[in-house]
Symmetry: C2
C-alpha cells in the first residue's frame, strides 16, 4: 500500500499579520517535518545574518520585473516599498515529486496563491491578542515606529480575511503552535477527497 | 484567546472492516489524547475480559429495543445476529461540554452516524493489504471459519465506501496509524469553517 503515500505533494501556506511569528514557526516546523521550504524572491535589502538562496533570493528590481514578465511568479506584491514573490517553477516541481512545500508569506500573497492554486492549504497564524501583537512588533527592534504602527493597524484588517483560510493557529506557546501546524500537514496527507479511486483499485486488484 | 479553544467538541468516528485493528488503534489513541470514548450498547455476549459499561453496555434484546423505541440510538445495526447501537444522549452531552468524542464502529454504523450528524468526522481504517487482512482475521482465533470468510468478503465492499469518509489511515505500523488519527483530531480543532465570526470578534473587541 506504499502507493497511497507516493501521491502528489501539497502546498502549505503559513501566513498571518507581521509579528505573529511566521518565520519562527516555519523554522521549527522544518526541523522535524518532511517539508521543502519555498524560497521567496525579494528586492529588499538582506537583514543581518540573512543569506541569498537560503532566506530569500535577493534580486534587483530589474531582475524581479523580468521574472514577472516571464510568468515565473506564483504571486508577488509590493510590501512597504519592496517587492516579494514566489517562484512558481520550483514549487510545482517539488509538488510533482510528491514533496510537501511550505510557503511563508503575508496575507495578501497567501490569497493570491490560493487563487492561483486552489488546492493549496492555507494556515492563518494568529497572535494571542492584539496587545501581545503590539508588544511583539515593538520589541523586534528592526523597524521604525511608523512602520510598526502601520503594521499594527493592518493586522486587524488581515485577521478579518480569516474566512478565506483553511486552518487557524494561535501562536501563544511556540511549541504548541508548531505541533498544530505539523498536525495539519499530517492530517491533510490522509484526507480522502481526490484519492478514492486509486485506493479502492489497489485493494480490488489484489483481490482478483 | 482561550475562547477559541472552548468551542463545541467534535465527534470522531473510527471505522473500517473487521480485522483492521479499530479497537487497538482507539485504545492507544485514548492514552495520550483528550478524547472521550463513546461506549456502544450491544446484545452480544461479552468476550473474555470485557466489562459492562467499560467495553460495551451489554443489554438484552428487550432492553435494546426499548432504547430504539425511545429514540436514544444515534445508529444501530444487526451485525451477524447481534444488535449494536450508539446511545445518542451521552455523545451529544459531551460535545456540548466541548469534549471530543471517539466512536469505534463498523462501516454501516459510521455512515448512519454521518447521516444523523453531518459534522461528524469519519476516519476509515484500512488494512495494509487484503492478504494481511485475511491473516489478521484468521489469527484472531475468536471466530468460526465461516464468520472469518464472511468478514473477509464484506471487507472489499466496505472499502468501496471510502468516498463517504473524510480521512483514511492505513494500519500497517500501529504507532504511525495512531499518530495519523491523533493528527486528524488535532488538525480538525484548528479548522476555520464555522468559527470565523467569533474569532474575528475577539480581536475587534480588544482593538476598540
Amino acid at each position: 500500500m506504499a502507493k497511497h503515500r507516493s501521491q502528489k505533494g501539497t502546498l502549505f501556506v503559513i501566513s498571518g499579520p507581521s509579528g505573529t511569528g511566521k518565520g519562527t514557526v516555519c523554522k521549527e516546523l522544518l526541523k522535524e517535518n518532511d517539508l521543502k521550504l519555498s524560497i521567496s524572491m525579494t528586492t529588499r535589502q538582506p537583514r543581518e545574518g540573512e543569506q541569498n538562496g537560503r532566506d530569500y533570493f535577493f534580486v534587483t528590481r530589474e531582475e524581479f520585473e523580468k521574472n514577472i514578465a516571464e510568468g515565473n511568479l506564483l504571486e508577488y506584491a509590493d510590501v512597504f516599498g519592496n517587492l516579494y514573490g514566489t517562484p512558481k517553477d520550483a514549487v510545482v516541481r517539488q509538488l510533482e515529486r510528491g514533496r510537501n512545500v511550505l510557503l511563508e508569506i503575508d496575507v495578501q500573497g497567501a490569497l493570491k496563491v490560493k487563487e492561483a492554486m486552489n488546492e493549496a492549504v492555507l494556515v492563518f497564524l494568529l497572535p494571542p491578542s492584539m496587545k501581545v501583537l503590539q508588544e511583539r512588533l515593538s520589541g523586534r527592534g528592526t523597524d521604525s515606529e511608523e512602520v510598526i504602527q502601520r503594521r499594527f493597524r493592518e493586522a486587524l484588517n488581515e485577521i478579518r480575511l480569516l474566512g478565506e483560510y483553511d486552518y487557524y493557529v494561535v501562536n501563544d506557546d511556540l511549541e504548541e503552535a508548531v505541533a498544530d501546524v505539523a498536525a495539519v500537514v499530517r492530517a491533510e496527507s490522509r484526507r480522502v477527497p481526490g484519492k478514492v479511486k486509486p485506493i479502492i483499485r489497489d485493494y480490488e486488484e489484489e483481490d482478483n
